[in-house]
């Protein structure tokens, strides 16, 4: 009787310890993987999901507007490593899911449709502003994620007259110019403006920041942005293409190279 009781107690003790050990092991693993993912953010229809599909499956599936976040692992063959890519929906109502992932981000890629940015400049800039704000208000303990801006769908950008410029560099130029202009507008409208207080947060400063620049008169400029370097890449994918296409010939070459160098 006693012996069986002892056995029972000992057994449950061992089980408990094992359980704790497993728990500790798993939580440790989680904290280790901190700051390891690449977030794809940006306005709806930018091409985030298409990029994810190309990176993960080596084929570009057709897509529609995303209802939820996708997180997949992408192998970086050159480094024999892998990277988690997180594709966050761009719809204004659900784009705040980025807050859940920004703590784990190694890099943030803001995907802009270069073929429509001249029409949607203000909306795109507003979205980018929320990202810039989130980046600059991260706790100092966290290493700042790198910021990439992808001038995507560069295949749709017509190279007009100048035959010398590639469509990628044209797309980059266009996206950069328009975003700088729109963000500067936002900065001016904020500076010297009196914002309406948020309800129940008397006296608190609630304005979005993240637009400070070190350049002359504080004019917004990506080169002098206080949050660090901003990398611009021109990308594109071919929707519906299968594996026939060689990996290093596709429009994501610059992104893949960047990943190899920075992961």
């Amino acid at each position: 009787m006693d012996a069986s009781r002892f056995l029972f107690v000992a057994g449950s003790l061992v089980a408990a310890i094992l359980f704790l050990a497993i728990l500790v092991f798993f939580t440790r693993q989680k904290s280790k993987s901190r700051g390891s993912s690449l977030l794809l953010v940006g306005p709806p229809d930018g091409g985030k999901t298409a990029i994810l599909s190309t990176l993960v499956y080596n084929q570009t599936l057709p897509t529609h507007t995303s209802l939820q976040t996708n997180a997949s692992v992408v192998a970086v063959p050159a480094l024999k490593k892998s990277l988690t890519v997180v594709d966050i929906p761009g719809h204004p109502r659900i784009r705040n899911q980025v807050d859940e992932h920004i703590g784990d981000a190694k890099a943030i890629a803001f995907v802009v449709d270069a073929s429509t940015v001249s029409r949607n400049g203000a909306v795109v800039a507003e979205h980018l502003h929320t990202i810039l704000n989130a980046l600059t208000s991260l706790p100092p303990s966290q290493a700042l994620p790198a910021l990439l801006i992808l001038a995507h769908k560069s295949d749709l950008v017509k190279s007009g007259t100048a035959a010398s410029a590639t469509s990628e560099s044209l797309a980059i130029n266009r996206v950069k110019t328009i975003l700088e202009r729109e963000l500067e507008k936002r900065r001016i409208s904020q500076s010297g403006g009196v914002a309406v207080e948020g309800l129940g947060e008397e006296g608190e400063r609630t304005e979005m920041g993240g637009l400070e620049c070190t350049g002359e008169k504080g004019v917004f400029n990506f080169d002098t942005w206080e949050g660090g370097e901003v990398v611009f890449l021109g990308t594109s994918v071919k929707v519906g293409s299968g594996e026939a296409e060689k990996v290093d010939e596709d429009g994501l070459l610059s992104l893949r190279q960047w990943m190899e160098e920075n992961v």
Binding site: P44, R93, L199
Partner: protein, 631 residues
Amino acid sequence: MLDHCSISHKGGLVLWSRSFTPDAAALALSSASPVNSLIREALIEGRTTEEKYEKDGYAVKWTFVNDLELIFVVAYQRILQLTYVDDLLAALKALFVKMFQPFLATFVASLHALNSGKAAVVEAASAFNFADAFDGWDRVFDKLLKNLEEKAAAERKNRLRPAVRPPIEDASPPSEEAETLPTQSPDTPQDEQQISRNVQALKNRLRGRGGKMGRRGSARSDAGSGRESVPNSDSESPAPKRKTKAKVQRKWGDEAPTETDMASLDFSVDSVQESGSSQDLQALVDQASMGTRTRDGMYEVKDWEFSKEEDSAIARALGPAEAEAKTGSLGALGSLFSRLTGLQVCEGVGESLVGKKVGGFQTTNAAVRLALSTSLTRILTPKTSTDLLLSIRTKLSSALPSTQQRMPYSITFVGVNGVGKSTNLSKVCFWLIQNGLRVLIAACDTFRSGAVEQLRVHVRNLGMLGVNGAADSKGRVELYERGYGKDAAGIAREAIAYGRDNDFDVVLIDTAGRMQDNEPLMRALAKLVAVNSPDKIIFVGEALVGNEAVDQLTKFDRALRDFSSASGGGKERGIDGMLVTKWDTVDDKVGAALSMTYVTGQPIIFVGCGQTYTDLRQLRVGNVVQAILAD
């Protein structure tokens, strides 16, 4: 008949799609495709409560498989009144999941790398071949669609000539054929003849059982003979039948569906039967489940869902025990739900929970709370910028041809009587002055006595308040008044012209209060809007009246839209945003705010919380959600 059909993952990847016309194919690639509009407007913004969404002449229907995170969408021309779409969706869902379950499971896992093992996933993912993965599906789809279309056509014919019923040949012998068919090799060609033979066999077998099912059979005395009650539901007594059935090995992977599967989905069988779709579907459930039972009879495909009723849907999807847990938790969260005056919100949450497995340490309560919080955040987050100042500055700084004069930014305040339009207009005015803008107030309430004087007092007060160190703000604010009894639309137009000539930045237009049901007055308001096309139309509503404000808002919005579209020329114009007043006078106010955002999809730009000029606030989504969920 259909225009477009697609099967996709909630994350946005389309697994399979088919367009039936070149137009639909072209449209499917654009961001304005019916599927994209459905997801944006119905699923993300939650603007439709029905099971059908309509857009640009398309009707769109959809269904979810929650645990595999799939969406099945069918789009067709709205005028077509297709009756078989629900059946099609249900059958597609059942068959697709059945045929490709293992692949789909790994595929979904590859999109959730954060919670699952990394290494395994990356291996699997890069090896996926989507082109081959759904091999055979096209054929299955074609057959299914053809069957349904034929059945629908036959039904239509029947309705036209109810007396003439096509005779059913009773040719094939009642045999065990149907039972032996599933073991046939999947490569066997499935020609029409064979299918029709299966159908016959199935019919015979079912007819044999027909006598046992008393209720439905006897009720249908008008149907002539019993043989027409073919794929009838015998869901009342499924257990004994299943035990006597020959069991078929469950089939996974890329095998083609067995002929029984096809036969069971052949709705054309009961072309003479005029019964509703639910019976057909039950027959489908029954037949299909036969094929998926293992030898010991333990396995069942759980997530098929054919019931229309929400409650039973949840109950069945969660299984009895879990359903109980859910109702229990709903009891605990009862006070919370009662505060959510927008019941539709709760429905949405319920839907998103169906079929979800509650994770290890998560209680049901926490799961519901999380889903609710996500859902509320989604509803309250404005889809357009609420930054009024930015939009004013953008308009003022936009480049103009030199011949044109700069127009001031105009904002119209509308609402019922006494909600606080004039008071809050002057609060907004104060805030704009603080931001260095010159404001003209147009007194277009030419109806209520004292309205103009009230504004005059406000303007005088505002003129005496200092701005940015200056002793007063004379010249920064002015009143444009033309007395009472005049046409408000005309006064507003003159005011805007005056503002333009005198270099004002913003014109705030105060309108007379009116009840939402008073058609002549609503027409007058619509005219004011049409004549002046203000940059923003702000609906002012009281937090005090709760859901009454929602009714007002809906009717104002509807009336403005109706009149503006009826008057031709310009495009439809509705409410652009809301201002909720008297926030300080009620305790339980978030409900109304939530419902107001929910019904229009437009943001609450400000809330008024007192009677001084500084009592203007902005609603922060996080705070509101917290306020709702805290207790």
